[in-house]
């Protein structure tokens, strides 16, 4: 143990944790910890002092209790696919939950599953597919990300436009609080008197405790699915089509926009989906549900796209074509790796009618700062993802990227939006929190955190800005003496 900021993280802690989880499951050599020094955002690096990987629920509880007894801060981590730096541990203990991969029960008739936090998102959908069911939240990282991480971040995905985000699909949780106490929140039947503790916990970014199991809702697979690709000669026309589709009252299962720089990156990669590389923007639109009536919705959407100057509208003829169209969208972040070694990804949300204006402003900001911006995002709910590929070794480019990021965030907030729609605040968006929340609102959020974690040891320094983050790295006793 060499990099510990806190003196309590010492050999005796490592030895004690090894007794709980086995020596192989406690890492403290810097070379072993390197893997855990970043998440899905390659621009942040923080190394934990020690990483521990419990294999059972009892081991998680025992580890958390040991840390509580020694007053040691910790960061829970799922698959580390997050896009906010939220799962980084800076000199504290990292608790990896990715070994808790059991699906504990599936109730087909009531459309429920109980899962451990390390279950991979798509693994749950695969496990229930034979029953005609799926787990609806589908972040782009669904092949790797875990349900526990999804709960911490209140993850979304393309299909949350119609089906809702993670919080709409979690009914009950068993949680170990940072104190080591185990509590049950919510109820599988979905209703119980009192405060919505499940609602408070989902999206708490690892600051309220660790979910030991989650009871989640399963959705019926739609009887019919239609996937359309419409391409446009201007971003503005595509954005107008989005607003017009939303205004009809048809709720598409997904409504995604992909701009030209992104299309070109995707088409040049192994994820090539056949998007037209000369289009200014493409909309990937999916409608699903009962077969009866679906063609009328498809026809209405096609007519709207054409009325808004779509150059062509293509409908996937079979499942293979559909999968290919989606592959390009879901792997777009990966395809950006071809453009530059580093990438910043923003996640602001704006009111849907403001999309044309905000996209124009983002374009202006990109040009003014000499940075390349690729937009690939959930247009149907106004959730932007401006991506800026860059080379962090180039100090001038890095500076310009950060200026552009800040300006984009300001433009989105000025349009009545918010700073993050699904990626979470983590450390990446901490500097922007007071753009959208007053001191009193942030204080109220802090007091909610203190309900779950009065010692402030869970995921220190994340989610809510505090004037000096330094105190998070001290023990509560040391903090009290400040």
């Amino acid at each position: 143990v060499t990099t510990a900021v806190i003196s309590q993280i010492d050999q005796s802690l490592a030895d004690r944790l090894a007794e709980i989880v086995g020596a192989r499951r406690v890492l403290y050599r810097p070379s072993e910890l390197l893997t855990y020094s970043s998440d899905g955002l390659p621009s942040y690096h923080k190394q934990p002092a020690l990483a521990v990987f419990p294999g059972t629920r009892d081991e998680v509880v025992a580890v958390v209790r040991e840390l509580a007894a020694r007053d040691v801060p910790f960061v829970p981590r799922g698959a580390g696919t997050g896009l906010s730096g939220g799962a980084l541990a800076d000199g504290v203990v990292l608790i990896g939950l990715n070994r808790l991969t059991r699906i504990l029960s599936i109730d087909v008739e009531n459309q429920l599953a109980v899962v451990e936090p390390g279950v991979v998102n798509v693994a749950l959908t695969r496990a229930v597919a034979q029953h005609g069911l799926h787990y609806a939240p589908d972040p782009s990282s669904q092949a790797a990300c875990t349900i526990g991480g999804n709960i911490a971040e209140n993850a979304g995905g393309p299909h949350c436009l119609k089906y809702g985000v993670t919080t709409n699909h979690v009914l009950a949780l068993t949680v170990v609080l940072p104190s080591g106490d185990v509590v049950t929140l919510g109820n599988a039947a979905g209703e119980q008197p009192g405060y919505d503790l499940v609602g408070a916990f989902v999206g708490s970014e690892g600051c309220f405790g660790i979910a030991l199991d989650a009871t989640v809702r399963l959705s019926k697979n739609p009887e019919a699915v239609r996937t359309l690709l419409a391409d446009f000669m201007s971003l503005e026309a595509a954005a107008r089509a989005v607003s017009a589709i939303i205004a009809t009252g048809i709720v598409p299962a997904a409504l995604e926009m992909i701009d030209q720089p992104t299309i070109q990156a995707v088409e040049a990669s192994i994820y090539a989906a056949g998007y037209p590389t000369d289009a200014a923007a493409a909309l990937l639109i999916e409608v699903d549900g009962a077969l009866a009536g679906i063609e009328r919705d498809v026809d209405a959407i096609e007519a709207i796209c054409r009325a808004n100057e779509a150059r062509s509208v293509r409908i996937a003829r079979n499942e293979a074509e559909r999968t290919k169209l989606w592959q390009g969208r879901k792997k777009a972040f990966g395809a950006m790796g071809r453009l530059a070694p580093h990438l910043v990804i923003q996640d602001a949300v704006v009111p849907r009618t403001r999309l044309p204006q905000v996209l124009e402003e983002i374009d202006r900001i990109g040009r003014a700062n000499g940075v390349r911006i690729c937009n690939v995002f959930h247009a149907g709910d106004g959730n932007l993802h401006p991506n800026i590929p860059y080379d962090a070794a180039n100090a001038d480019e890095t500076r310009r990227v950060h200026v552009a990021m800040k300006e984009i965030m300001g433009a989105c907030v000025a349009a009545g939006g918010t700073i993050t729609g699904e990626h979470g605040v983590g450390i990446d968006k901490l500097p922007y929190m007071d753009l959208v929340f007053s001191d009193d609102s942030l204080a109220a959020m802090c007091s909610l955190r203190d309900v779950f974690d009065p010692d402030r040891r869970a995921n220190p320094g994340k989610a809510i800005p505090i004037h000096s983050c330094r105190e998070w790295y001290l023990s509560p006793a040391a903090r009290a003496s400040l």
Binding site: L185, A292, P351, G417, T420, L448, A463
Partner: protein
């Protein structure tokens, strides 16, 4: 949207709400929060003699129809929201029991919903952001005005259903929907054992109904239907979809079209002074919960099989202990003082800690939710 003169008057109303809570907190003098005053007998008896009226802080703050969201002050009634949105062929699909004269603040604070929750969910799914005045008089916000938002801890969901014990809701941003092309309602007479058949049908069909409530014979008769156990169904979507969906229900019996005003009658059916509880269980258990509730004499009962909810409307003689005698969870809405004594308070340390964090002097609706301060 209100003009400048109105808005400065409204700002004063908001400040007076904040000042009243600050003063109450400083003096340790409890307040009973009140929206439009329609449901003052809901919740546990709260020992607070001072009324804090929130119904005067009213009106639309922002409504951009193309965004399908609306921001309103807490005292705005459901009827005002209904009228403003109907002008753009939109609606807030939230139909709590009572009538549209209730305020959005009270509806959200009590997490009230009605039959449409089958499709559109509850306030938890429809509220995007809230402003509230906490028990210390701080004005705080959770969420925002956009449809997707994970910035900050979820104060919005914490406030929904907190019954005014953590703060007074002064503003809400709500998700709206466009009115469907077709919105059809029909009734089907079923026998008492039909509850499970309705549940199984809803589990099997490839669509969701807007609403599907099963009514006991007494309740059916009360709203003008034949006095028999009845499935009351509401479907929405395009004409083709609705026609096909209606066919699927013919398997249960002959659908008889009813005017959509029937839903308003159902919402308004409970008499003043009624005792009302909701029993909640997994959908597969609903038939058993229903059967037990339907055996109670002189009650009106309706159930939503897909949501696993059975709602029982009785009077002061309703035996709460007997109703709770099962695996199901119970949420009491309105009861007599004697009946409330049969209902245990909230368990665990977290609710009390939350209450103390947001209302340290215990001045907001003390005791109404059964949380120990």
């Amino acid at each position: 949207v209100t003009d400048a003169a109105d808005s400065s008057a409204l700002n004063r109303v908001r400040e007076s709400i904040r000042d009243a809570i600050r003063d109450a907190s400083a003096a340790g003098r409890p307040l009973r929060l009140c929206g439009r005053g329609a449901w003052m007998d809901a919740g546990r008896p709260a020992p607070a003699s001072d009324l804090l009226e929130l119904g005067g802080y009213t009106g639309i703050v922002e409504y951009v129809p193309g965004d399908l969201t609306i921001t309103v002050r807490g005292g705005t009634t459901l009827g005002e929201i209904r009228d403003a949105t109907a002008a753009h062929d939109q609606w807030l699909p939230l139909d709590p029991f009572g009538d549209d004269d209730g305020s959005i603040g009270a509806t959200v604070a009590t997490a009230s919903s009605g039959p449409l929750a089958t499709f559109f969910g509850t306030p938890r799914d429809l509220v995007l952001g809230l402003e509230f005045v906490s028990g210390t008089g701080a004005i705080a916000r959770g969420g925002g005005r956009v449809v997707k938002n994970v910035a900050g801890f979820d104060l919005t969901r914490l406030m929904i259903g907190s019954w005014g014990t953590l703060g007074a809701i002064t503003e809400a941003t709500l998700r709206l929907y466009a009115r469907p092309e077709a919105d059809a309602s029909f009734a089907i007479g079923i026998d008492g054992g039909g509850v499970e058949r309705v549940r199984a049908l809803m589990r099997q069909v490839p669509f969701k109904t807007y609403a599907c409530e099963i009514l006991n014979a007494a309740l059916a008769a009360r709203i003008g239907l034949p006095a028999a156990t009845t499935a009351l169904v509401r479907l929405g979507g395009n004409h083709e979809a609705v026609a096909t969906q209606r066919q699927a229900f013919a398997e249960l019996g002959t659908p008889v079209d009813v005017d959509s005003a029937i839903w308003k009658k159902l919402r308004g059916v409970e008499p003043e002074g009624a005792s009302v509880v909701r029993l909640s269980d997994l959908p597969t258990a609903v038939a058993a919960v229903w059967a037990a509730a339907a055996r109670v004499p002189n009650v009106l009962v309706h159930a939503s099989p897909a949501r696993g909810v059975v709602r029982v409307i009785g009077d002061a003689s309703l035996d709460i202990a007997a109703l709770r005698d099962g695996q199901c969870a119970m949420v009491a809405e309105r009861l007599s003082a004697a009946q409330w004594e049969q209902v245990p308070g909230l368990e665990g340390a977290l609710p009390s800690r939350i209450k103390r964090a947001f209302d340290p002097r215990n001045v907001l609706n003390p005791g109404i939710l059964g949380v120990e301060a």
